[in-house]
């Protein structure tokens, strides 16, 4: 079956420095969409980025990600981390196989320190 891997459970970065959260995936389907969800403390997860186009950069709220099907990756990056970016981040894919077709990574907790 499909799977999403987030290699880091915890990431700490200093304010103003770049940050990269890794996401790789396995799927046998061609119709796939990728998401980054962000969950702030005591809030609902919300979509941060969505992409289904290979090699196209997607940006939102200063974050960006590019889907690379050749390497099965959809890493999340930001050039300058802010204290307000501290949150839990989930990478997910939707493979179009049916209603039960969202696959989430285990999540990366990002902490930005002054």
């Amino acid at each position: 079956g499909d799977s999403v891997t987030q290699t880091e459970g915890l990431v700490t970065v200093t304010e103003g420095l770049p940050v990269k959260l890794n996401c790789t995936y396995q799927t046998t389907y061609l119709t796939i969409a990728f998401f980054w969800y962000v969950q702030y403390l005591n809030e609902a997860p919300q979509v941060l980025l969505k992409s289904s186009t290979d090699n196209k950069r997607t940006e939102h709220q200063g974050f960006h990600a590019t889907l690379h099907k050749s390497s099965s990756s959809f890493h999340l990056q930001k050039s300058s981390a802010q204290l307000s970016d501290s949150a839990l981040y989930y990478c997910a894919l939707s493979d179009g196989s049916g209603y039960q077709n969202f696959y989430f990574g285990k999540g990366t907790s990002l902490t930005v320190i002054p």
């Binding site: 459970g9 119709t31 796939i32 969409a33 998401f35 969800y37 005591n42 809030e43 609902a44 997860p45 919300q46 979509v47 969505k50 989930y90 997910a92 939707s94 493979d95 179009g96 196989s97 209603y99 039960q100 077709n101 969202f102 989430f104 990574g105 285990k106 999540g107």
Partner: protein
């Protein structure tokens, strides 16, 4: 825009107790989901429903029941709470896009503690 409301926000139960979590959405979405969130384990699907009165089991359905009596609401029941269990239960909804589920929209969760 719409909103997903989960009640209660906090739920404390006793071992063996039957506990019910409720979810309401005003997006007018057809599909609704219940996920369990455990630290380091991601989001795991418990039940989903593609329309009113439809119920489908996810990978984590054992120990849970669900009910979808209206399009806007989806309830989850823990049939027998396990001692020392702690988890967050997230409700979500989406449009069914034909070629795949569209973006999931989540509620802020119900935090369960079993004493």
């Amino acid at each position: 825009g719409g909103i997903i409301t989960q009640t209660p926000k906090f739920l404390i139960g006793q071992e063996g107790q039957k506990l019910t979590l409720k979810c309401q959405q005003n997006f007018n979405h057809d599909t609704m989901y219940w996920y369990r969130q455990d630290s380091g384990k991601g989001l795991r699907l418990i039940y989903y429903s593609i329309t009113e009165n439809d119920l489908q089991k996810g990978d984590l359905s054992e120990g849970y029941d669900a009910s979808r009596e209206k399009k806007s609401s989806f309830s989850l029941t823990v049939t027998s709470a396990q001692k020392n269990e702690m988890a967050v239960f997230l409700c979500a909804s989406s449009i069914w896009g034909g070629g795949g589920a569209e973006t999931l929209y989540f509620g802020s969760g119900t935090r369960l503690t079993v004493l």
